[in-house]
Amino acid sequence: MAEKRIVLGNCGAVDPQDIGSYLKAGGFKAYGKARGMKPRAIVEEVKKSGLTGRGGAGFSCGLKWEMALNARGGQKYLICNADEGEVGAFKDKYILSHDPFGLIEGMLIAGLAIGARQAYIYLRDEYHSLNSLLVSAIEQAGAKGYLKDTDIRVFEGAGAYVCGEESALMNSIEGQRGESRYKPPYPAARGLWNMPTIINNVETLMNVPHIINKGAGWFSAMGSGRSKGTKVFSVSGDVSRPGVYELEIGSPLRELVVDLAGAAEVKAIQIGGAAGNIIPGYMIDTPLSHETFLGSGSVVVFNSTRDIIDIVYSDMRFLSEESCGKCTPCREGTEVMLEILGRLRQGEGHERDINSMEELARVMAAASLCGLGQAAAVPVLDSLRYFYNEYIDRVGQSHFLRSYLGGELVELKEGMR
């Protein structure tokens, strides 16, 4: 099977700076159709299609919209989450830079469905160079009269991974520290300024015009199990053709990383960013779906020269740096994990370190406030599950160093690294 470009269909084919080019390609037809539909009919169509959130959580998009539609509130908000910050993720950047009008159309339809008069694109600071392209696209859409029901503004972040988490994102727009909120209430009930709010990933919204144009049945015919449609992936690491690829959900991982991206001698793959699953190379024929692995679409490939403990250490360094600090399990847990992993990679580990990490992982998963802390231990647990011997070998080396070399021969230890 080859790539199936639906979300990316316009990328490269349409001029992102000219709305005329998008209109010529059939743009805003879905918006016109949606304007003739009742909000509930739009929500039903999206619900029936089986579209799920593409930011990583995979929640039903239609159900979310329904909650916002049913929620009472004087003002409702729609937010497009363009705070793509997962390690190894760059697919939303690709979409934003190639097809801003597709996103705007998706947002306008979402706005009609839930009754949002104000919408935001929350753009990460790192993508500031795309700001003017987006603003120009919004202005062009406004000049054509498309923003009558829903106004769209670009809101730029200021450098914080956790703001990709929806409640932290809303705090950020409200001018506060980007810390996660306790849930419930969920944003669909009480979100931005306590009003019903829908937050959808860029890619999720990109699917919406296609669903309205071609129908829920067309969409749900693609995919596998309860995971419908396609998924856009960004592949990097040990591959000869890193880049952005779109595949039907259910396609085997091998197709993505070997056939398309050109990986060889795959030792492990991390899917979904620094807190994503790490799976061994022998599982490369696993189909990609919500039921297995999908995440936000970030795929980093490691070949046989890579050290698993180094990989997990780097993941944890990122997560401890980006923890918002509000809840203890995440703030302290990621620091302690980093300290332990640091000792293990330096050849100063003990068997009890492995047990400590497993125990801590359970607490973090159960007690953290948001997804960052809840998932932070995933790479630790996965690496222990699939690459346990590497940990045991490293602990064995540590014992050797301590018993035969004493504590002073630091250079030798460095050499073993």
């Binding site: 950047k93 003017s132 730029e156 506060q176 520290r177 990097s236 780097s314």
Partner: protein
Amino acid sequence: MSDKNKTTAGGGPGAEILPELKKDVAHKGYLSKETMAAVAGQAGIPLNSVYGVASFYSYLPVSPVGSNVIRVCNCLPCEMKDGTVVVEGIRREIAIGPGQTTPDGKFTLELVSCIGACDQAPAMMINDRLYGDLTADKIAGILKSY
């Protein structure tokens, strides 16, 4: 630095704070106590709240930085593509390490989280501009252009 003015805010209370702070960073390089006090005054919130917000975000410096901020990606995909070449290359050219500013105030070097350029690793940003597929030679040329 390019103008970050285009970012629009609107909406409910507080929506102007982040855009305002970003505008000040774009114009002045960092947020001084006076700048933060002015934003606090306008928003009708205490200075320490504004400091709390500013210090939370990586791209809102609260102490002086060089006129060009180099942000080197410090995450796995860049690390794997010999990411140390970048920091070492910069050190060789302008003799600063992460967290430091050149004596002439021209450059500050920072290590940052993933900047979404993993397909062109190793990568860095100088101000808003992205540089990818970096090598030691390339870095020397890029720095000289500033």
